[in-house]
């Protein structure tokens, strides 16, 4: 990526050597080759393991680990490491050490655009939230739900109107496997909640002799772990909650599809505890007014589907159309038309509409980077093309025979 300085007989400092390596063509070739291999592997891995696992393993990891003789060792750089090194290589070799001139201006702009795009990826990876909002016609919601992340919520039950919830986030739950436990206390809540036995995909079943339980047996029920699905958004997580109130311990299975939350009586107050997909608040509410689906004539292929919604906040309600390829961008969120149902609905049956919801601070950055990179490529390749055409028109000669 960089120029190599003219031969220098003085030994270089280690830092300078490192910079040479970091900005070298050799490194960029290696990194591009590594990314190529990762992309091939990650693509093939999806066929049997699903996209979510492929992303975690190959593209959102620093290193790829494998068990060698029972010991876990890194066998290949992960996507994050490759892209971090690529960004460093671009910075050192493609920007700082590049000789600036008319010949290199295009390359410089391309590198700037790529760095900007990598930065957008980093912001997306670390600072975005995504989920879905599913509403039946007439329903309204002020939050959206994660596809993959879980949370345990604790709130005072029985009250009317909005209540404050205490929420335990995904990263504090998903590592509670293999006997690990974690205790949580909340201001104003008169008990300590201990959580354990997290299973990402399981079912609570009456414990019988035919199967080994993957969690303690509580009231005759226990959790049975299921094989992970390729579509991880269909996972049904479960875990065990335990509290001690007035010296008495009570425990319950928490399962994401439970009909009612687990309730705990303490100091005259009933508290509800529930495991569910993580919820994210929106700065406004969305009410689905009408969902419309249009099919191509004579066949059952959808031509378009669209939702008329009301965006509701303190200022009032505004009617907005969200349809394929035309999302709603509002308050740092983007809502996309992504699904609908029930698929077998009758003519007068109420339909629901599903919106993908994303909060991504770098939402439009890739588009800006695209135009920067395109400008750079036009400058760089345009110059080369011009020079190629000039040379060719002057030097063109036939391979054999007479010139045409």
């Amino acid at each position: 990526m960089t120029t190599q300085s003219a031969p220098n007989k003085q030994p270089k400092a280690i830092a300078a050597r490192l910079l040479d390596i970091l900005g070298s063509y050799g490194l960029v070739c290696l990194l591009l080759a590594a990314l190529f291999v990762l992309t091939v592997q990650g693509t093939l891995y999806q066929v049997n393991h699903g996209l979510y696992d492929a992303k975690k393993l190959y593209f959102e990891s620093w290193l790829i680990w494998s068990s060698v003789g029972g010991v876990s060792v890194p066998i290949f750089p992960g996507g994050v490491l490759c892209m971090a090194l690529l960004a460093a290589n671009l910075l050192v070799g493609g920007l700082l050490r590049l000789r600036v001139g008319t010949r290199t201006a295009g390359v410089l702009v391309i590198h700037l655009g790529i760095i900007f795009m990598l930065l957008a990826s980093l912001v997306k990876l670390t600072g975005s939230e995504e989920g879905h909002l599913t509403l039946y016609e007439g329903d309204e919601s002020d939050h959206f739900t994660s596809y993959h992340k879980w949370e345990v919520a604790v709130w005072p039950a029985g009250g009317e109107g909005p209540v404050a919830e205490f929420v335990i986030e995904d990263h504090l739950l998903t590592d509670l496997t293999d006997g690990a436990t974690r205790s949580f206390s909340f201001p104003g809540v008169p008990f300590v909640l201990e959580l354990s036995n997290f299973l990402p995909h399981c079912d609570p079943l009456p414990k019988g002799p035919a199967w080994e339980a993957d969690s303690p047996v509580l009231d005759g029920f226990a959790l049975l772990a299921r094989e992970p699905l390729k579509e991880t958004e269909r996972h049904t997580a479960g875990m065990v909650g335990r509290v001690e109130v007035n010296g008495e311990t009570s425990a319950a299975i928490l399962w994401c599809f439970e009909r009612y939350p687990w309730t705990v009586e303490a100091e005259g107050q009933t508290w509800a505890v529930s495991l569910r997909h993580a919820r994210y608040a929106m700065p406004f509410s969305i009410r689905l007014d009408d969902f419309q689906k249009e099919e191509h004539p004579g066949i059952s292929m959808a031509k378009s589907y669209r939702s008329f919604v009301y965006r509701v906040d303190e200022s009032g309600a505004e009617r907005i159309l969200i349809e394929m390829n035309d999302p709603l961008r509002e308050g740092g969120l983007v809502l996309f038309q992504s699904g609908w149902g029930p698929q077998n609905a009758g003519p007068r049956q109420r339909l629901f509409s599903t919106f993908s919801v994303v909060r991504n601070p770098s939402d439009k950055w890739p588009e800006y980077s695209m135009w920067i990179i395109t400008l750079g490529m036009l400058m760089a390749f345009g110059r080369k093309l011009f020079s190629f055409v000039i040379k060719s028109t002057h030097k063109a000669a036939p391979l054999t025979g007479d010139a045409e």
Binding site: G26, G93, K303, P366, M370, S392, A397
Partner: protein, 673 residues
């Protein structure tokens, strides 16, 4: 419309004491029979066509509008697509050696179905399919008529039902072909039964009340019955209570209607909906016409008139002159109805597109061009040869381009939507790139390669057209909701496809470099290889520009459609692989790690990466780009990769043998990044 149909069923179910219009007990149930073979009430004679269809008939028939696959198209297209699906070709070769065009075949299927059932129009590619349904095979691959296969009809239906429960990816080739044969059978039966209603007798002379309504004839035609639908409906309500004789007669009449409509079920939608239903997008088939006439408040007179046209055609089918005159009148009438809905505009253009057969003709021209180019290598001093190649290449490329443009106009869409479109577009653009390079270099290499590229591309297009028609029913099929945006289709898809063009053309030039070195072509002409290397480099830059722009633009589209710029979806990854590979190639060149031979090898592999992105990822059947999934091309793809692997291997061996003769590797010291 199905609701209306159900409503009509309920109406007559109540009126006729529980006997619904549809779902009559089939007198032939449990037996193998063709739709429309309800001989008890059909016209007993089964005449055969005595004369060839006249040009006037074929022209009037070809431009009849019909709605199929979500769009209005000429009957000529429907005929071509159906025959291509069944027969594998747009022409049908009969057992006596004569040939039928697509329109002649469909005319026979519609008006002389008994005769058409003897046409060998079912292509069976594996005799094991016939063994499975207990039909004797003629040979391993052969063509069969409907009547030759009819013995296995029941077995085929039950086998198809069983196979449908097997996941598509897990089906064997024989199972897939069995399902296709079952589908083809259904297609043929639907077409053969389309005009069954014109060959059916509807008894109206059995009761005084019916005679009062329809006259003294024993039978009436469907159009006559429909024209008196309101009166018949009132009569039905009236006699329901206490008139057993008339009630039985009306019940018999509706039973016959039900039988005729069952035979016509699944036929093409030939009837534009009534003027009062402009908002209705779907055209009507005959059963919907009947439902509409009996249950809708709107005026269905135009549709009933169309029914009458078809009845008159059936009556006059043995009188060529009268038939032609009637068909021309029908054409004009149907055209007026379609024009009133603004749906006729592209019909003549589409007929022209298929009549010109631009893509087959371009294949022939490219082939001639390549043969001429080959002569040019043998007779290098013959100046007219390269001129001829130029002319043929330009003519062929113009034909492909014209075809693409016409398809854009007909669909009102950008050029690339389906996999079939990508082949046409890549071929046209690839040849244009090679011609441009030939214009700049005048080496005759690019000119020859352009023709070769054209031959390969149009051959592939011809082969894949059959596959796309078999799976999607059309090569101009309707698009799924997410693709319904001409802006992104025009920019993202075309630019990514241009990236494919660059990778493939660079790979093609690289083959010449490698094979030329291997076989000692122009051994002493260093400028030959230098020019080739420059072309490989230039085309790779072209590839990178469009691949990167198109790939990122695809991310921008995904950000608007699915809520994320990049999702590591297989199709996205395929595009990324091209970008990564070409970036690596160009940086390896700049870093001095790849010189001319290295660039040639990497360019060959760029072609492999493009093929993986273009076809390979579609075979995985995972991801959000489900509209691009395909199957049945894996073997061809693996063969291509194997050949390319051999080319790379050969180059490696050649390098080992001659490495001392080649320039020593140099580091790019002090050069720009």
């Amino acid at each position: 419309m199905k609701l209306i149909q159900k409503g009509l069923c309920v109406l007559f179910s109540v009126a006729l004491g529980g006997s619904a219009l549809h779902g009559q007990v089939d007198p032939h149930a449990g037996h193998d029979h063709a739709p429309g073979d309800h001989s008890g009430h059909d016209h007993p004679d089964t005449p055969t066509r005595q004369e060839s269809w006249s040009d006037g008939v074929k022209q009037a028939f070809a431009t009849l509008p019909v709605q199929d696959g979500g769009r209005v198209k000429p009957l000529d297209s429907l005929a071509g697509l159906r025959l291509l699906t069944l027969n594998g070709k747009r022409k049908l070769k009969l057992t006596d050696g004569s040939k039928l065009s697509q329109d002649e075949w469909l005319l026979d299927v519609l008006f002389f179905p008994e005769q058409a059932r003897d046409y060998p129009c079912f292509r069976v590619q594996n005799a094991a399919v016939l063994t499975a349904i207990e039909v004797t095979a003629k040979s391993k691959r052969d063509w069969y008529s409907y009547n030759e296969l009819i013995g296995g009809r029941a077995k085929l239906a039950s086998e198809a039902q069983r196979l449908h429960s097997i996941e598509a990816a897990k089906q064997t080739e024989v199972q897939r072909q069995t399902l296709k044969l079952a589908s083809d059978f259904g297609t043929f039966e639907a077409l053969a039964g389309t005009l069954a209603f014109t060959r059916h007798d509807y008894p109206t002379g059995a009761s005084p009340l019916l005679r009062e309504l329809f006259g003294d004839e024993q039978n009436a035609s469907l159009s006559v019955i429909l024209s008196k639908a309101a009166e018949l409906r009132a009569l039905t309500q009236e006699v329901m209570a206490d008139n057993a004789e008339d009630f039985d007669a009306i019940q018999s009449l509706f039973a016959e209607l039900g039988v005729a409509l069952d035979a016509a079920a699944q036929g093409p939608a030939l009837f534009p909906p009534p003027a009062g239903l402009e908002a209705a997008q779907s055209w009507w088939d005959i059963s919907t016409v009947v439902d509409g006439a009996f249950t809708l408040e709107v005026d269905c007179q135009a549709q009933i008139e169309l029914v009458a046209f078809f009845e008159r055609l059936e009556a006059q089918k043995l009188q060529p002159a009268a038939f032609e005159a009637e068909l021309v009148s029908l054409n004009e009438y149907a055209r007026e109805l379609a024009e009133a809905r603004g749906e006729y505009g592209q019909i003549p253009l589409e007929v022209k597109l298929y009549r010109m057969d631009l893509f087959t003709n371009s294949l022939v021209l490219f082939l001639l061009g390549f043969i001429l180019a080959a002569f040019g290598w043998v007779f290098p001093r013959a100046r007219w040869l390269p001129r001829g190649v130029w002319a043929l290449a330009i003519l062929a490329t113009s034909a492909v381009t014209l075809g693409i443009v016409l398809r854009c106009i007909i669909r009102q869409r950008p050029p690339v939507i389906s996999l079939y479109d990508t082949i046409l577009f890549i071929t046209a653009c690839g040849v244009l790139v090679t011609l441009l390079l030939e214009f700049l270099t005048r080496r005759r290499v690019a000119l020859s390669l352009g023709c070769l590229f054209g031959v390969a591309g149009m051959f592939l297009a011809g082969r894949y057209e059959l596959k796309e028609v078999s799976s999607a029913g059309d090569t101009m099929a309707s698009v799924v909701a997410v693709l319904d945006t001409n802006y992104y289709l025009a920019i993202h898809v075309t630019t990514v496809t241009l990236g494919y063009v660059g990778g493939l053309v660079a790979g093609l030039f690289a083959h010449v470099w490698i094979l030329g070195k291997l076989f000692g072509v122009a051994r002493d002409d260093k400028s030959f290889y230098k020019t080739l290397s420059r072309m490989i480099y230039g085309v790779l830059c072209f590839c990178l520009f469009f691949a990167i722009f198109g790939t990122i633009m695809g991310g921008v589209w995904a950000n608007d459609s699915w809520g994320r710029f990049w999702g590591w979806d297989p199709k996205e990854n395929g595009a990324l692989l091209i970008c990564l590979w070409v970036l690596m190639t160009l940086h390896a060149r700049m870093g001095g790690y790849a010189r001319d031979r290295g660039m040639a090898v990497l360019a060959v592999l760029a072609g492999v990466v493009v093929s993986a992105s273009w076809w390979g990822v579609n075979l995985l059947n995972v991801g959000l780009h489900s509209y691009g999934f395909t199957s049945g091309v894996a073997r061809t793809l693996y063969a291509f990769w194997a050949v390319e692997g051999l080319v790379v291997l050969a180059s490696g061996i050649d390098w080992l043998a001659h490495r001392h003769a080649e320039e020593p590797r140099k580091l790019a010291v002090g050069k720009e990044a």
